[in-house]
C-alpha cells in the first residue's frame, strides 16, 4: 500500500521536474527594460538599448511545418551566434503539418509561453489579431527592431495593422503565386499544337494530347478546372478566399460583387467542360483519383498539372535531372488577366503572442535574422561548407557543398518563411533559368493589391457558410468536371440548394464588410 503511494508521489515529482526547466526561463527572462510601450528616452534611433548587460534568456519560437533532419545542427550554430550577440538562445519548435491548425489555435488560446510565432493570412492572422492573441508591437519596433522598422515600407505594415496597432512583422518578399499550368512543352512542339495563351488554345492542346498519346491522359487531378474558370473570367477573390462562391467581378469594378454559380458564364463553362469530359480529356473517375497530378506528370502519365510558379521551378529542375528529353512549359494564369497581383506581405510574417515573456529580445533576434547576411544564410540555407557553398560568381548557391554526397546530403531548408527577405536571398544554381524572366514579367504587370488585405469575418453567418460549403462540395466538382448528365438541370438544382442554404445572407454580409473596407480605404 505504502509502496503504491510512494510510486504515485514519485510519478508526480518527476512530472514536476519536467516543468522546472521551463519555469527558469520564465523567471530568468525578465526584460531588462520596462520600455515596452514607453517611448525611448533617447531620440536617436541608433541608440543601443542594450547598454546594460542583458540577462540570459531562452526564447521559445513556433513555426509551422516539419523540422528538417539537420535542424538541430543548424540550431546549434545559430544559437552560438545568438548567445554572443544577444545572450539568448532560440528554441525553434514546429507544429508539423498534422493538425497544424488546431495546434496553432491551442498554442495561442491556452496561454502557453510562446515568444514568437509564425503568422500569416492563411493561418488566420486576422482572426487571431482581432481576438487579441497577439501583442501590439508598435511601441517596441523602432527600439528593438530598428533596421526592420526602417526598411519595411509603410504599406506593408498596413497589412499587419488592426485598429491602428501593429500585430506582426510582415516578410519582405514580393510573391506572385498565380495559378498556372505546368505542361509538357516537348509534346506540344512534337504534335504542332498551338502555343498556349487562352482557353481555346488550351482546348487544342488537350485535344492534341488525347489524340496523339493513347497511353496518357491529359488531365489527372481536376484542380485546374475551377481556377481556369475564375481566371479566364477575370474574377478577383476576396481576402484571398479562392474557393469562395462570392467573388469580385473584375479588378476594375471593385463594387461589382457576384455569386458566380448564378452567372451565365458559369453555365457556358460547365457545358464546355462536359464536352471536354466526353472527349476524354480526363477519366470518368477523376473525382476519386488520389494520385497527385505532379506525380502523374513526372511518371509520364498525364500532360498537365496545376501549380504556382514556385512549385513549377522545382518541376523544371526535376525535368532537367530526370527527364532531359522532356521539356516543361509553364503558363501562368495571370496572362489570362493581363496583370498580376503580389501576395499580401502578411502572407508570411512573425507575431508575438500575448503570453510572450521576452518580446523585446525576440524582436531583436528577428531583426538580426532578417537583416544580417550571416544569420539569414544560416537560417535559410544551413551551414556553409556543409549544406551549401557559394557559386563561383558569388551570386548563387551550390547545394550541397563540394565534397558532399548529394544523395545523403540534400541540403537544408526549413519553414523560415516568416523572415523572408528577397534582398538577402540567393538562388540555387539549379534553379530554372527562366525564373528571372518570369518574375520580371510579373513585376512588370503588377497592379496594387487592394483585395487581399481585406479582412472578412464570417462569424455572423457561420451556419450559412457551413451549409453552403456542404452544397458546394456536393455539386461544384461534379459540375466543373462536366460529369453531370444534364448540365442545366444540375445547375438549377445547385442554385436552388444554395438559396436554401442561405447564400443571400452570406453574400450580403460579405458585401457589407467589403464595402465598409472600401469606404475606409477610399476605393470607389
Amino acid at each position: 500500500m505504502s509502496l503504491l503511494i510512494a510510486l504515485l508521489l514519485a510519478a508526480f515529482a518527476f512530472s514536476a521536474c519536467g516543468g522546472k526547466g521551463k519555469d527558469t526561463a520564465d523567471i530568468g527572462g525578465e526584460p531588462t527594460e520596462g520600455a515596452a510601450g514607453k517611448p525611448s528616452e533617447q531620440a536617436d534611433e541608433t541608440a543601443d538599448p542594450t547598454e546594460k548587460p542583458l540577462e540570459e534568456a531562452e526564447l521559445i519560437w513556433y513555426l509551422v511545418g516539419d523540422p528538417h533532419a539537420d535542424q538541430a545542427m543548424v540550431d546549434e550554430e545559430l544559437n552560438k551566434k545568438f548567445k554572443e550577440d544577444l545572450n539568448a538562445t532560440v528554441k525553434l519548435n514546429f507544429t508539423t503539418w498534422t493538425e497544424w491548425q488546431s495546434k496553432y489555435n491551442l498554442l495561442l488560446v491556452s496561454g502557453e509561453t510562446v515568444d514568437m510565432i509564425f503568422a500569416s493570412t492563411w493561418a488566420d492572422f486576422s482572426k487571431y489579431a482581432k481576438m487579441g492573441a497577439f501583442q501590439d508591437l508598435s511601441g517596441m519596433l523602432p527600439e528593438y527592431a530598428p533596421k526592420t522598422w526602417a526598411e519595411v515600407p509603410r504599406e506593408d505594415w498596413e497589412s499587419a495593422t488592426f485598429d491602428g496597432k501593429i500585430f506582426a512583422v510582415p516578410c519582405t518578399n514580393p510573391e506572385f503565386t498565380p495559378n498556372g499550368w505546368f505542361y509538357r512543352e516537348d509534346l506540344r512542339k512534337k504534335y504542332n499544337l498551338p502555343e498556349i495563351k487562352d482557353v481555346a488554345s488550351m482546348e487544342a492542346y488537350l485535344d492534341g494530347i488525347k489524340k496523339n498519346c493513347p497511353d496518357m491522359i491529359p488531365i489527372e487531378q481536376g484542380l485546374e478546372i475551377p481556377s481556369l474558370f475564375r481566371w479566364s473570367n477575370r474574377y478577383e477573390p476576396i481576402a484571398g478566399r479562392e474557393d469562395d462562391l462570392v467573388q469580385v467581378k473584375s479588378y476594375d469594378t471593385p463594387r461589382d460583387v457576384i455569386i458566380y454559380p448564378f452567372t451565365d458564364e458559369y453555365v457556358e463553362f460547365c457545358k464546355m467542360t462536359q464536352e471536354w469530359a466526353e472527349k476524354g480529356y480526363w477519366s470518368k473517375d477523376i473525382l476519386s483519383s488520389k494520385t497527385a497530378a505532379g506525380d502523374a506528370l513526372k511518371a509520364g502519365k498525364c500532360a498537365v498539372a496545376q501549380m504556382n510558379p514556385a512549385t513549377a521551378y522545382g518541376y523544371f529542375s526535376n525535368f532537367e535531372k530526370e527527364h532531359p528529353d522532356w521539356e516543361g512549359g509553364y503558363f501562368p494564369f495571370s496572362r489570362l488577366k493581363g496583370y498580376s497581383i503580389a501576395n499580401s506581405p502578411m502572407n508570411n510574417g512573425m507575431a508575438v503572442p500575448k503570453s510572450a515573456v521576452n518580446p523585446e529580445r525576440s524582436l531583436m533576434a528577428l531583426d538580426l535574422l532578417r537583416n544580417d547576411t550571416e544569420y539569414y544564410r544560416l537560417s535559410w540555407f544551413g551551414i556553409q561548407g556543409y549544406h551549401w557553398d557559394l557559386s563561383d560568381d558569388g551570386t548563387e548557391i551550390v547545394v550541397p557543398a563540394k565534397g558532399q554526397d548529394p544523395i545523403k546530403n540534400k541540403g537544408f531548408w526549413t519553414t523560415s518563411w516568416g523572415w523572408a527577405n528577397y534582398k538577402l536571398n540567393l538562388e540555387n544554381v539549379t534553379t530554372w533559368e527562366g525564373k528571372t524572366a518570369l518574375v520580371q514579367e510579373f513585376m512588370d504587370q503588377q497592379r496594387p493589391n487592394y483585395l487581399s488585405d481585406v479582412k472578412i469575418d464570417t462569424t455572423p453567418v457561420k451556419t450559412e457558410e457551413a451549409a453552403i460549403k456542404q452544397v458546394q462540395q456536393k455539386y461544384s466538382s461534379v459540375l466543373f468536371m462536366g460529369l453531370a448528365p444534364d448540365v442545366d438541370k444540375a445547375i438549377e438544382e445547385y442554385r436552388d440548394q444554395l438559396k436554401k442554404a442561405g447564400i443571400d445572407q452570406y453574400f450580403e454580409e460579405i458585401r457589407k464588410q467589403l464595402f465598409a473596407y472600401y469606404d475606409e480605404k477610399g476605393i470607389e
Binding site: D66, A72, T98, A292, N308, N347, W417
Partner: protein, 296 residues
Amino acid sequence: MKLKQDRSMILFNIISYSILASFSLLCVIPFWLILSGSFSSETSVIREGYGILPREFSMNAYEELFRSGDTIGRAYVVTICLTVTGTLLGLFLQTMAAYVLQRKDFKYANTMAFLIYFTTLFGGGLIPWYILMVRYLHLKDSYLAMLVPPLVSSWNIILLKNFMKSIPAEITESAKIDGAGDFLIYRKLILPLSVPGLATVGLFMALGYWNDWYLCNLFITTPEKYNLQSLLFNVLKKAEFLQSSFAGLVTTEYYDPPKETIKLATAVIVTGPIIFLYPFVQKYFVKGLTIGAVKG
C-alpha cells in the same frame, strides 16, 4: 482416433472450408497488395497500379524511409518502450482497482464504482485539457504526456472487475483465513486466475499505445521524442498539405512529397510488429472465450 466421416460431414467440411477460405482471401489480398506495392518502383505503381507481384521490384521506398538515419529506429524504440511500460503499469493500476472494487467486503465499492463511471459522462473539452496538461502539470514535450493519459480507463477497470467477479469468492476467503494480506491474495491468487482478462485488456492497451499519434502530435516538440505513428503520419500529412489549397500560397520548391510506395511501406512497417505479436497472444483469447462458460 479418426471418426468415420459420412457424406454429410464431407459436404459440410467442403462448404465451410471454402467459405472460410474465400473470406480469409478477402482479408489477406488487400494486405498482400500493400506488401507487394511497397516493394515496387514508384513509376510502375503510378502507371499500372497495384499487382499481386511487384511489376518492377525496387527497395526504394524502404531505403528512403530508413535513410533519415536513426529517426525511424529511434521512433521505434520510443514506441516500444511506451507500449511496454504503459501496458504493464496500466494493467497493474487497473487490476488493483478492479480487485478492490470486486471485493464484497469493501464498504464503498458501489460509491467508488459510480464515481469512476461518472467521469466518463462528460468532459471539459480539448482546450481545458490542454491547459491542464501544459500549464498545470508541465507535461509539454515530456514522455509522460504520451504515457499518462491512456494509462487508466474506467472502461477497463469495470471490465476487469466483472472478470474477477467470476472467480469464486471462496478462494479469497480461504486465503484470508490462512492469514494472507490483501496484496498477497491479489498477486498470487487473483492475477494468475485472471490471465485471459489481462491478455484482453493488455492487448487493447498495447494497441492503443502502439497506434497513438495524437498525444505525440499535440504535446511533443522535440523530434527525438516522436513516436512511430506520429512520425509516419507527419509524412503523409505533409503530402496532403502540399495538395491542399494552401500549397498555392507557399514556396514548395524543395518539398519532395512522399510517393505512393512510401505510404505503402509505411503501412507495412507499422502493422508488421502487431502481426508478429498476435499469434502469441491468440491462445489467451481462446481460453478467455471459454473460461467463464462451464461452472462447477
